[in-house]
């Protein structure tokens, strides 16, 4: 009996001690981890919108530039993770640089989170970048590499989806590419398919919202 009591008490004590130390490390790093996450997101937003951040800019400076140039619009778009506001950026001389919205959805291992930006005239993609993903390093995770993301910079957005209902297709690299085709990642078919689905869905929703909005404005007598 005494043995059993000791065993239970011992386990409770050891658990308490280790839980406490984990909690301490957690609270010690919490602030920094939150800041990192926020910064990573804001960096991506500015990157896709084309807001320039000097190389090696300190954390605070980066956040300041963000505050100055990026703002929330009252437009909302449906992403794979619910409805979110569309962001926009202004240039140094107060011109609209583009719209930016979150893209999200299930990847091969876990959720993919990123931002896509569209030019002010809604004719071209300005940029695309993922800020959170758990795809296989060296394979699916290639979607965060410049070679993949840069393909979207300045890409024309077709006014109507193709016969398969898609605005863009991600295809095998090296193959014959048609208009609106983009290279996928070799060896990561599942990730490639997921990215194709996520981008098409969100972009189509955004374009529709904007079209409706513009025609409403037009009817208002501009």
């Amino acid at each position: 009996m005494k043995d059993k009591l000791f065993t239970v008490a011992y386990m409770a004590a050891v658990s308490a001690a280790f839980t406490l130390s984990v909690a301490l490390v957690d609270s010690a790093t919490q602030k920094r981890r939150d800041l990192n996450a926020e910064l990573a997101k804001k960096r991506v937003i500015m990157e896709v919108l084309g807001v320039e951040v000097p190389k090696g800019a300190k954390l605070e400076k980066t956040l300041n530039i963000y505050e100055e140039r990026v703002y929330k619009t009252d437009i909302r778009v449906n992403t794979g993770a619910g409805e979110v506001p569309v962001l926009a950026a202004r240039s140094a001389n107060d011109e609209l640089m583009g719209y930016c919205f979150q893209v999200a959805g299930k990847g091969f291992w876990d959720m993919l989170w990123g931002y896509m930006a569209v030019s002010p005239d809604l004719k071209r993609i300005r940029g695309l970048a993922f800020y959170e993903q758990s795809e296989t390093p060296g394979l699916g995770a290639e979607i965060t590499k410049p070679w993949f993301e840069q393909q979207f910079e300045g890409k024309e957005i077709p006014s109507e989806p193709g016969q398969d209902g898609k605005l863009f297709r991600l295809v095998q690299p090296g193959g014959q590419k048609k208009e609106h085709d983009v290279d996928g990642v070799t060896g990561a078919t599942n990730t490639t398919d997921a990215v194709e689905r996520i981008l098409n869905n969100t972009l189509m929703d955004f374009m529709q919202t904007m079209r409706k909005r513009n025609s409403a404005n037009g009817a208002g007598g501009e």
């Binding site: 043995d3 000791f6 065993t7 011992y10 386990m11 050891v14 658990s15 280790f18 839980t19 130390s21 984990v22 490390v25 957690d26 790093t29 920094r32 981890r33 990192n36 996450a37 990573a40 291992w109 876990d110 959170e132 993903q133 758990s134 795809e135 390093p137 060296g138 394979l139 995770a141 070799t186 060896g187």
Partner: protein, 213 residues
């Protein structure tokens, strides 16, 4: 001097160290921890952080298990070991999330999976639970290094052949056509098998007893 050197080399600590690095190397001798060996060796940067994490966890858990060894009731010792290991892994994960966010992102789930790495549990159960704190510490360092140097060798060849880069820097000329298979899971098996073959053939590891598992 020579007698002091002899004393050092023949000491229990040195033997424990040699065992971890070579004679009982977790990868090519015990074939443990293969899951992470296969998973994180396609890029050197990721491998390095993974190795640092494993060394940290195996050293801390060995020391902790050894400290508690006289009090831990036998029938719950494995639960206690898992608790200790899991705590250190979570702490390491939080630390790299805070200070190396990019690499933490690249490693994804694998850092958390250190918890299930059989090397760590094996050392806690097989060594630290019946040895003193100092020797457990040495054993942790040696086992961690023994794991790390093999992983780095594998990652070196996989990244070089599969991507033409080392630590993300382009080293192969444009003439090099990357062997995509090397950074994919099958490449890990080829690379691991080659390393085990070369080390066992030329590394003067004494042959195992016939019939040993």
């Amino acid at each position: 001097m020579p007698s002091l050197w002899k004393k050092v080399v023949l000491s229990r600590s040195a033997q424990v160290f040699r065992a971890g690095i070579w004679d009982e190397n977790p990868i090519f001798k015990q074939i443990l921890g293969i899951c992470s060996t296969l998973a994180v060796t396609n890029l050197l940067v990721n491998t390095t952080v993974m190795c640092v994490g494993l060394i940290f966890v195996v050293v801390c858990s060995n020391v902790m298990v050894s400290i508690l060894r006289h009090w831990t009731p036998r029938r719950i010792r494995m639960i206690v070991e898992v608790l200790i290991i899991a705590s250190f892994v979570i702490m390491f994960k939080m630390a790299i999330d805070a200070y190396l966010p990019d690499i933490s992102k690249a490693l994804g789930a694998y850092v958390g999976l250190i918890i299930t790495n059989c090397i760590i549990m094996g050392r806690a159960e097989g060594f630290a639970s019946s040895n003193g704190v100092w020797h457990s510490f040495v054993d942790g360092v040696a086992t961690g290094l023994g794991y790390s140097f093999i992983l780095l060798i594998i990652a070196f060849f996989r990244e070089l052949m599969g991507m033409g880069t080392l630590f993300g820097l382009q080293v192969m000329g444009t003439w090099w056509r990357p062997w995509i298979i090397m950074v994919m899971p099958p490449g890990a098996f080829f690379a691991l098998a080659m390393v085990i073959w070369v080390v066992r053939r030329y590394g003067q590891v004494e042959p195992e007893d016939e019939g040993a598992a």
